[in-house]
């Protein structure tokens, strides 16, 4: 079952904040976040592990609610370079990385 992300798309201006949500119907062992720029491969941003540990990007933060099977990505003081499509990826403990529906983010000058 593919995790559902919200919003599907967001437009903001440089310096504004955004939150992207990821919700899974299955229990999560970990949540990954990736960003894909147009015409490029997805690039790893962050991983959140059970127990609250997070590793990754130093200007982007995220949360992981294991009970609710949800994760949120917080983009603060957005930069033009943040534009792209964001995917959450879930690890279910079976070495299968399943990606969410995606959120297109565009940052305007």
């Amino acid at each position: 079952q593919q995790p559902v992300q919200s919003p599907q798309a967001v437009i903001l201006r440089e310096g504004e904040d955004a939150v992207i949500n990821c919700s899974s119907s299955k229990a999560l062992y970990s949540v990954h976040w990736y960003r894909q720029k147009h015409g490029e491969a997805p690039v790893f941003l962050m991983i959140l592990l059970k127990g609250g540990e997070q590793k990754g990007h130093d200007k982007i933060s995220a949360s992981f609610n294991e009970k609710k099977q949800q994760s949120s990505l917080y983009l603060t003081a957005s930069q033009l370079s943040y534009s792209g499509t964001y995917f959450c990826g879930t690890g279910s403990g079976t070495y299968k990385y399943i990606f969410g529906t995606g959120t297109r983010l565009k940052v305007l000058a």
Binding site: Y34, A41, P42, F44, K55, F87, K96, F99
Partner: protein, 116 residues
């Protein structure tokens, strides 16, 4: 971090033909993952390829349509067989890499296939 080379980067194919995509990693890896990304969509896992065993396919994907080879720990191929326009997608090869004690994915640049 592993570096993945994929080829072809793009191709235009005729209906009914088959195309093989190659994925080369600069280090030995246990598992390689093949994803499909249809236009404007998310990534869908096709199969997981382990060296020395049959690939494990996800629901909706079958070996006859997407045969996979994994001859060694650094190389894999995905063939898209008997292509139709619905197979027009980006196909991505991916491997796990270690990041601060956790496993995360790194991707090849992808192979963009257009089927006419």
């Amino acid at each position: 971090s592993a570096v993945i080379s994929q080829k072809p980067s793009r191709d235009i194919c005729q209906r009914g033909t088959s195309l093989t995509i190659q994925c080369q990693v600069d280090s030995q890896v246990t598992m390689m993952f093949w994803y499909r990304q249809q236009p404007g969509q998310s990534l869908t896992l096709i199969a997981t390829a382990n060296q020395g065993s049959e690939a494990t396919y996800e629901s909706g994907f079958v070996i006859d349509k997407f045969p996979i080879s994994r001859p060694n720990l650094t190389f894999s191929t995905l063939t898209v067989s008997n292509m139709s326009p619905e197979d027009s997608s980006i196909y991505l090869c991916s491997v796990e890499v270690r990041y601060s004690g956790a496993n995360v994915l790194t991707f090849g640049a992808g192979s963009r296939l257009t089927v006419l």
